[in-house]
């Protein structure tokens, strides 16, 4: 049977309507917690939850568990979700569904993490601000953005300030882009941990304790972090004293760390502007604590540092070693610091025309007092294949066009 003209017209209209099946609008005002949470529960796949301009005083965490939902505010300075009076939940907003886009709003003063997404594949974070408004404090929440255990994570155009662990943290995930974002006054600006295939580029990481960290830790479901490219970032003046609660791995990051690569393989750091990082512009190190996990590799392997622009570096190193060692390091103003653990064959390559210092640690886990620093040359290491660029599914890039 041929379709009638009416049915045909209806079909055309259906295809030409906006992408969103429906829009649920939530305005600022009383009972924001209940109204906003209800919208996030009632949304159907394809819907947009539109959060109006204004301040939303929230009393508990929010959560989204519906696939293919866009949560959109009127802009990160106009739509403010304030968690100052939060009584429960470990984060401001928790996302546990796939194909979600969050954009155009701010999360302020959450008691724990700002926005966490877990097992949320193809998630897009765009045009957001997460901030602890009292400045850097140990009582601030840990992570600003916290995608974990996810495939395809796109973070674009966000600003995070004041996180007591990492501003932008991507953990145990695969296929990741962090770009065009700003991380300031956090302990770690941007941290890629136990993750595979990440591009971190065109970001600004300033006034953190450490700018950009690429880490791998033992005893976790996903280990063996690899294939990370850190490029075209400005990583400068990371001069905020470490305010992380002790016990956390970032509490061991010395103030004035630019880019730090720990226990990862196939990492390339290139084309970044690195300056005024008082401990070192680039640090290449093993995991330095004791561990019993026999499946864990604590060493950095296949790491290339090339074509970066270096300003001042290493002028006030904060490694906690002896006064003599610190004086020697400070006098050298080294740009690249390597823990010096022997690797055969050598797989760390630094071709930037800057000074490199080996800390000369005798073994993994050696204490700061065992350092025997000496200048090193890593430029002769053979060139290595670099990881391929990370590409997101087209739908994710289209979502923020």
């Amino acid at each position: 049977m041929k379709p009638s003209p009416f049915v045909l017209a209806a079909t055309l209209i259906a295809f030409s309507t906006p992408v969103f099946a429906g829009t649920i609008s939530v305005a600022a005002g009383p009972d924001a917690q209940e109204r906003l949470q209800a919208a996030l529960i009632d949304a159907k796949p394809g819907d947009m939850v539109e959060i109006g301009a204004g301040r939303f005083d929230l009393t508990d965490g929010l959560s989204l568990d519906v696939d293919k939902v866009t949560v959109r505010g009127a802009g990160p300075s106009a739509t403010i979700l304030s968690f100052k009076n939060q009584k429960g939940a470990g984060e401001g907003l928790l996302i546990t569904s796939d194909d979600v886009v969050v954009r155009g709003f701010a999360v302020e003063d959450s008691k724990g993490d700002g926005i966490k997404s877990k097992g949320a594949n193809r998630i897009v974070y765009h045009d957001l601000r997460v901030e602890w408004t009292g400045g850097p404090k140990e009582t601030n929440g840990a992570y600003g953005l916290y995608p974990v255990e996810s495939r395809d994570v796109l973070i674009d155009g966000v600003t995070v300030k004041g996180a007591s662990d990492a501003g932008i943290y991507v953990g145990q995930s695969t296929n990741i882009i962090v770009r065009n974002s700003t991380a300031m006054f956090n302990v770690a600006g941007i941290e890629i941990e136990n993750s595979y295939n990440a591009d971190v580029h065109s970001n600004i990481a300033m006034h953190n304790t450490g700018g950009i960290l690429v880490f791998d830790l033992p005893n976790l479901p996903q280990m063996g972090g690899h294939s990370v490219r850190v490029f075209s970032n400005r990583v400068a003046k990371n001069d905020t004293a470490n305010f992380a609660p002790k016990g956390n791995i970032v509490a061991s990051v010395p103030v004035g760390t630019g880019v730090m690569v720990m226990a990862n393989r196939d990492v390339v750091v290139f084309g970044n502007a690195l300056e005024d990082n008082q401990s070192a512009n680039v640090t290449l190190t093993s995991y330095r604590q004791a561990f019993t996990d026999t499946t864990y590799n604590p060493m950095p392997r296949n790491v290339t540092v090339r074509d970066n622009m270096h300003g001042r570096s290493g002028f006030a190193p904060a490694y906690g070693g002896s006064p003599e060692v610190n004086a020697m390091l400070a006098a050298g103003q080294f740009a690249v610091l390597w823990d010096g653990l022997d690797q055969t064959p050598a797989t760390l390559r630094v071709t930037d025309k800057v000074s490199v210092i080996s800390m000369g640690f005798p073994r993994q886990g050696a204490g700061a007092e065992e350092a025997k620093p000496a200048p090193a040359d890593l430029s002769q290491t053979a060139a290595m294949a670099e990881p391929s660029p990370v590409i997101m599914p087209a739908s994710m890039e289209a979502a923020i066009k």
Partner: protein, 340 residues
Amino acid sequence: MKRFACAVALWVGLWGGLTAFSPVAVNDALITGDTLPAKLSEFGLLINGRTPNDGVRPYKLNTPLFSDYALKYRFAYVPGGTKVAWRDAGSLDFPVGSVLVKSFGYPADMRKPDEGVRMIETRLLIHRASGWVALPYVWDADGKDATLKRSGQRMDVSWTHLDGKPRTVSYAVPNVNQCKGCHDAGGVLTPIGPKGRNLNDGAQLQAWVTAGLLDRVPANAPAVARFDDVKAPLDARARAYLDINCGHCHNRAGPANTSGLWLDWEQPVGVNLGLGKRPTAAGRGSGDRDFAIAPGHPDQSYMVYRMQSLDSGIAMPELGRNMVHDEGVALVSDWIKTLK
């Protein structure tokens, strides 16, 4: 033939008294349908928050989740002609059409737990063909019925505690996402409490079998201890407590799997149980302590620090606890003291 007789007996047991004593039968169509009824009474599961309708069976757990000292009343409904299947690990297998019912209330005085109980909420876990569905109902002010509250609610609740002193809590009814925040195994909503090991008190499950509700109980069925049974070994009590209070998230497939801290009953003693386990994403939950469990030293273990906190950026469990469970803290601390 015997089985048939048993089934008939079950049928009579479940349905026989219904017309005589109850105004409404359990509404199986509503249970297995796809609607979200606005009123709890529509299901016909309860006469009131603490009293089940015919065919709805009360049950007890050896060690329950701590819920801000609320009294909890648990019931299971299994549709006529079906049976729960025994499982060695995880929840028993409740057939489609089953409902797990849990009511929460506070007496005026905790020393007289049966008097003046104010019902707060009743949570349903409904097994539909599409999977388990979690629905929180908040009791109306007149106490006659409860209303579906999918986005959760907070309310202040006061009572006189066991020590005779007044207590008040900002009680949180979870929203439906938070229900899944705990009732989640590998992304699938799943019951937590009615595991064979936590229902096995030596009599309860055998009674279920006799009543035709459960297919079998193995002779050597596992059992967790009662956390408050001072005659049971400390290790068994602490592991039972961690299992029900933490292990639903902190296991290899649960919402907290990425922490690498796994506290379920099956977890062997080692780093992933917390011994010498450094924080992963704890933030200020570390409390400046290096390890989840520092063997021998509860005051150096951030597990205890997080159990003692009411700050939502620190407190564990993250949901459903707005008071410190003093007895739980004491138990876990005593246990850590014995670890080497």
